[in-house]
């Protein structure tokens, strides 16, 4: 309830008062008040409405206090804030506005991510700092600076105009997916998965999909995250070791998430406006369909990667396509494609080369490639996995 309502309440108050700090503080006060009151008085008929109304009153109190001290900004905010009852209906658009403000391209991406988690996710600065392995004062500074820029530079609180929407929406989706990925494959540290970030990204994805049901890429991103998330339990052993897709126990995949993800992929197909997230979701849906790794419809996967290369070509997509092609045409063909890619600094490039070389019986070269991959990864679970693979060379 807290995370859901936090974003809603902050969004309403930002629109009402035009100031993020005022909104945040008032919403925090309202939640603190709820914690004090609700255990004895019971839940109000509309808890969400109660939070918003209480926060609004708190904000007005604070602004009156500040205004009496001749704070010009507070006076302006009070004038801006009409004395009308707060309704929950139009709140929908307020959250959408807030997302676009948080993910404005004039803000650096790390600032976009932090603001989104703070304002829409209701995560504390401490939680965000911990999730991104950044010292807390650094994260606090990042948030203060970003909020200061929104205020001083006049970043508007508004859903972008039709013409700018595709670009701006791409930025929003990129932030959500970045949060998910950081949770899924933490770029460094002990744990392979930081579940709370994944859960938060999916929550944001659901929120966006609800707010923009006609944007297929929004639906595609949600489907993609759900399908990846469905395999979480099987992606590591209880001891924290990495398990590859082919070796995962598919009976333990989360059927409910798969069904939801696949239904969303089907809805995307009906909309027939494919994009990068939808295609990646579709690729994951093919994997989810296969009862065993051997039963995977690899030619369909290759076909989807061809489409992905057409709409969003990148060396990483080409690398993944080569992996799929190796399953259809053999490791020789896969390696031929992989070797042409300029991905020398990417650990998975070397890990995939290593695997293809191993399958071709070129063990010395495979060992070198594993070595290169190990040197480039900072994630402990992934490194352990690669070291295991390297030590198994020549054992067979």
């Amino acid at each position: 309830m807290f995370r859901e309502e936090h974003g809603r309440a902050v969004a309403v108050l930002v629109r009402r008062f035009g100031d993020i700090d005022v909104a945040e503080e008032a919403v925090q006060d309202a939640f603190a008040e709820a914690v004090r009151r609700w255990p004895s008085s019971g839940l109000p008929p509309s808890p969400a409405g109660w939070i918003i109304t209480t926060a609004r009153n708190r904000a007005i109190d604070r602004l009156r206090r500040d205004a009496s001290r001749e704070d010009k900004q507070a006076q302006a905010a009070l004038v801006q804030a009409p004395d009308e009852p707060v309704e929950e209906g139009p709140v929908r658009d307020d959250r959408l506005r807030l997302i676009f403000t948080c993910c404005h391209p004039a803000l650096a991406v790390p600032a976009q991510v932090a603001l989104t988690l703070r304002l829409l996710g209701g995560l504390t600065t401490t939680e965000i700092a911990r999730a991104f392995l950044v010292p807390e004062p650094t994260m606090a500074q990042r948030l203060v600076r970003a909020k200061g820029k929104i205020r001083d530079a006049g970043i508007p609180f508004r859903v972008p105009a039709e013409a700018d929407l595709p670009d701006r929406l791409r930025a929003v989706l990129a932030v959500v997916y970045l949060i998910f990925n950081e949770g899924y494959a933490a770029s460094s540290g002990e744990r392979l998965v930081r579940e709370d970030l994944c859960a938060e990204a999916i929550r944001l994805g659901r929120l966006l999909a609800g707010l923009m049901p006609d944007e297929p890429e929004v639906t595609g991103l949600l489907a993609l995250m759900l399908l990846i998330e469905s395999r979480r339990a099987t992606r590591t052993t209880p001891g924290g070791e990495l398990v590859r897709l082919a070796d995962q126990d598919r009976l333990l995949w989360d059927r409910e998430l798969i069904d939801e993800g696949q239904a969303l992929v089907r809805r995307c197909l009906q909309l027939d406006r494919p994009g990068p997230y939808q295609l990646q979701a579709a690729i994951n849906a093919v994997h989810s369909d296969a009862p065993t790794a051997a039963a995977t419809d690899w030619s369909q996967v290759v076909e989807l990667y061809d489409q992905l290369m057409a709409v969003a070509p990148s060396p990483v997509v080409a690398l993944n396509r080569a992996v799929a092609l190796a399953e259809v045409e053999g490791p020789e063909a896969g390696l031929g494609l992989v070797d042409g890619l300029a991905l020398d600094g990417y650990h998975l490039f070397h890990a995939i080369r290593a695997d293809l070389l191993r399958r071709l019986g070129r063990e010395a070269e495979a060992a070198d490639a594993y070595e290169a991959a190990i040197a480039l990864t900072e994630n402990t679970a992934e490194r352990d996995f690669l070291e295991r693979k390297r030590s198994q060379l020549g054992a067979a």
Binding site: A106, D152, A153, I155
Partner: protein, 117 residues
Amino acid sequence: MKHYLLSIYQPDEGTPDPESLDKVMSELEALNEEMRAAGAWVFTGGLHAASTATVVLDKRGEVLMTDGPYTEGKEHVGGLWIIKAPDLDAALEWARRAARATTLPIEVRPFHDEPAG
């Protein structure tokens, strides 16, 4: 309405050939005209080379002068606009147009307070 400073960052070395300079100048003229028509234009001006700059510094009553621009580097502000815009998005749109016309980076900075008028 907020006020924004749009600064053109120009390389110190090298001058564009006359032909492309003509093109830039006529595009800038058209842009200024459009800013005026939209009510966004407040001021614009181009600057002489950064090598013509002088920095003045007061050290406890004693005036120190140095020849050349304050910041080191290979680029300096070569011209600027002051514009009025309802929000950053509107200012960024003018900056985008300016960047296209000049083919140079444009820095957008908000003014602290609304100037009088």
